[in-house]
């Protein structure tokens, strides 16, 4: 641990592979994904359902069900091997190093305790401070996430808050122990448009203020564009393209990333046909051979069926996993 220097990335994931045993046989939910995350950096993970974004988050927090899961590869957090952490170390890792926010605040809050108490309890558990200090911290956190009249809100039960406010309270809970890495799993998806943008802006500000690294999972390209420094596009358990948000979202290289962007409806296209990707994402229990996207890909060649393409550099800080990517990007 002492060998760790500030210039190394905060989080380094290498060949992370997650398999599940299911009724229909083993599936590979995550297939050799690798990425680095610098301090204070925001990585957006974009993908459709079943692409492995949420599994990635759960693997990072090590909350996957142990019995049915096999994990290989490595996750290094400040040089520490997360996959080797013992029970006690894990408890401190979750909360002190990494915290997670969810789409549904009800997953984070217990309905029978007040919001203030739950935040304070987390602080007491991780920082071993007094309850008074913990409540003070809880108040500070609610103010930080800009909940109006925070002091009286400490005594609210989760159901007494509106959806947007509960989401803010959950952010306060996650940030109470000042984690170095925040995992955000579609935290704005269930919110109304006018509330969603408020929460995105809040997360963006807090992330800058606290210098905290964030992985933000979303299926919405627009949300990813609003918050990410870099984005990774996932498909069928693999990262197919990664690079700066501006590069990937404005000129995607991988055919899937291109298809995803062209099928995202945006402002000035009324009347035009949407360029939809044909077919549907593969069944993880029944994956096509070679490139998982090849059956839906207009540019697929016979060779695409034979090899699983490895991520290759396609410009500064940019990679794509497609054997045709040279010809595509050109």
């Amino acid at each position: 641990m002492s060998a760790f220097t500030a210039r190394e990335p905060l989080l380094s994931v290498r060949d992370l592979t997650v398999g599940f045993k299911t009724d229909r046989g083993p599936i590979t939910a995550l297939d050799r994904i690798s990425f680095d995350l610098g301090r204070g950096e925001v990585l957006g993970l974009i993908g459709e359902s079943g692409s492995g974004k949420s599994v990635t988050m759960r693997a990072l927090l090590r909350i996957l069900p142990q019995k049915r899961t096999t994990i290989s590869g490595s996750i290094l957090m400040e040089g520490r091997d997360v996959l080797a952490l013992k029970r006690r170390e894990l408890a401190s890792y979750r909360g002190n190093d990494v915290a997670m926010i969810f789409q549904e605040p009800s997953l984070a809050f217990d309905p029978v305790f007040t919001v203030g108490r739950q935040i304070a309890e987390t602080v007491v558990r991780h920082k071993q401070c007094s309850w008074d200090a913990a409540y003070a911290r809880a108040l500070e956190m609610l103010e930080l996430v800009r909940i109006p009249s925070a002091k009286s809100r400490l005594d609210n039960y989760p159901h007494e808050m509106s959806g947007g406010m509960r989401q803010r309270a959950m952010i306060a809970l996650a940030l109470a122990c000042s984690p170095k890495l925040l995992l955000a799993d579609e935290p704005t998806t269930a919110l109304d448009a006018t509330v969603q943008i408020q929460v995105i802006l809040l997360l963006r500000e807090l992330q800058k203020e606290l210098g905290m690294a964030t992985i933000f999972v979303t299926h919405d390209v627009g949300v990813a564009a609003e918050i990410s420094d870099r984005v990774a596009v996932m498909y069928a358990g693999r990262i197919v393209e990664m690079g700066s948000a501006a590069d990937v979202l404005k000129s995607p290289a991988h055919p899937y990333a291109r298809g995803l962007l062209s099928s995202t409806i945006h402002g000035a296209m009324a009347g035009e046909r949407v360029e939809a990707i044909p077919g549907m994402p593969p069944d993880l229990a029944n994956m096509p051979s070679g490139c998982a996207f090849s059956p839906r890909c207009a540019m697929a060649m016979p060779e695409c069926r034979n090899v699983i393409p490895a991520p290759a550099s396609v410009g500064a800080g940019r990679s794509a996993a497609c054997i045709r990517v040279g010809s595509v990007a050109a």
Partner: protein, 294 residues
């Protein structure tokens, strides 16, 4: 367009789909406990049904000379009772009464309670309030006490205890079918059916029944073991079958005095009640998990 949208179906193999109930049966068949229970129950039910054909003796003819022979006596494999009647024969014939008194009230209660519950759940409003409050009133009494009270008021006998047990079993079935119906009724496909102009009866028949059948049947099957025990209990205290009719609960009572001289024989009717009730219970559990797949 057709080309790209049709592609979405190409991954789907060309094989016939299995219906829900055959899927349930397939899963149930994979569960050894359920299959063992089912086998035991089928054997006991068949044996009772064909008792006149397979029983070695006459259930009501005994001889004081051969009272309380032990288990294993030649000619009387399971011994004889306090009046010298063959135990095996009595147990086989007793099963007819005990099983009927256990299964029939559940079936009747399922029919009546299920209908009332479905109506209450589907119609809602005042109808629901009336049916449910009526069920609540019956529900407020402990079921065994209520059964004893009704059977006591009506007098002993097969039909009367049948009525008593049915009345006791109706309220829980109303409850379960009402809540299942309410749940299904709020689903979008029922809305869609209403939007297509279908009437209430059609919707209940086509859309509601198929979806509440599962949970209601599981619940009813779990009541079978309760009903068997209650029926035996009524007979035991003299409110059910009357001597000399063979019935397990009644046999348990009449053999009570022999418990010190022939404990094994005195326990035999109890063992039968235990086996049947346990098998129904385990089978019901197995059925529940076999149905519990989306």
């Amino acid at each position: 367009m057709s080309a790209d949208t049709l592609a979405s179906g190409n991954a789907m193999p060309l094989r016939a789909s299995r219906g829900y109930w055959s899927g349930v049966w397939l899963r149930l068949r994979r569960d050894p406990v359920s299959m063992a229970c089912l086998t035991v129950l089928v054997l006991i039910i068949l044996a009772s049904a064909f008792a006149p054909l397979i029983a070695p003796g006459d259930p009501s003819v005994g001889s004081v000379a051969r009272r309380l022979r032990p288990v294993g006596t030649p000619g009387y494999i399971l011994g004889t009772d306090e009046l010298g009647r063959d135990m095996l024969t009595r147990l086989l014939f007793g099963g007819r009464m005990s099983l009927t008194m256990g299964i029939l009230p559940v079936a009747l209660a399922l029919l009546i309670g299920g209908t009332l519950g479905t109506i209450a759940g589907f119609v809602g409003g005042l109808t629901n309030a009336i049916i449910m409050r009526a069920a609540d009133i019956l529900f407020a009494f402990p079921s065994v006490l209520l059964a004893v009270a009704i059977a006591g008021a009506l007098g002993a006998g097969f039909v009367n205890s049948l009525v008593a047990l049915t009345v006791v079993l109706i309220p829980p079935l109303i409850r379960v079918s009402e809540s299942a119906t309410t749940q299904v009724r709020s689903l979008d496909f029922v809305e869609a059916a209403r939007a297509s102009g279908a009437g209430a009866f059609t919707i209940i028949r086509v859309h509601i029944l198929g979806n509440i059948m599962g949970p209601v049947l599981v619940y009813a099957s779990s009541l079978l073991s309760v009903a068997i025990i209650m029926a035996a209990g009524l007979s035991f205290i003299g409110l059910g079958a009357r001597p000399p009719t063979p019935e397990w609960g009644l046999m348990l009572n009449t053999l009570r005095n022999s418990i010190y001289s022939q404990p094994l024989i005195a326990a035999l009717p109890g063992v039968m009640i235990f086996i049947v009730s346990l098998s129904f219970n385990l089978l019901s559990d197995g059925l529940r998990s076999a149905m519990d797949v989306k």
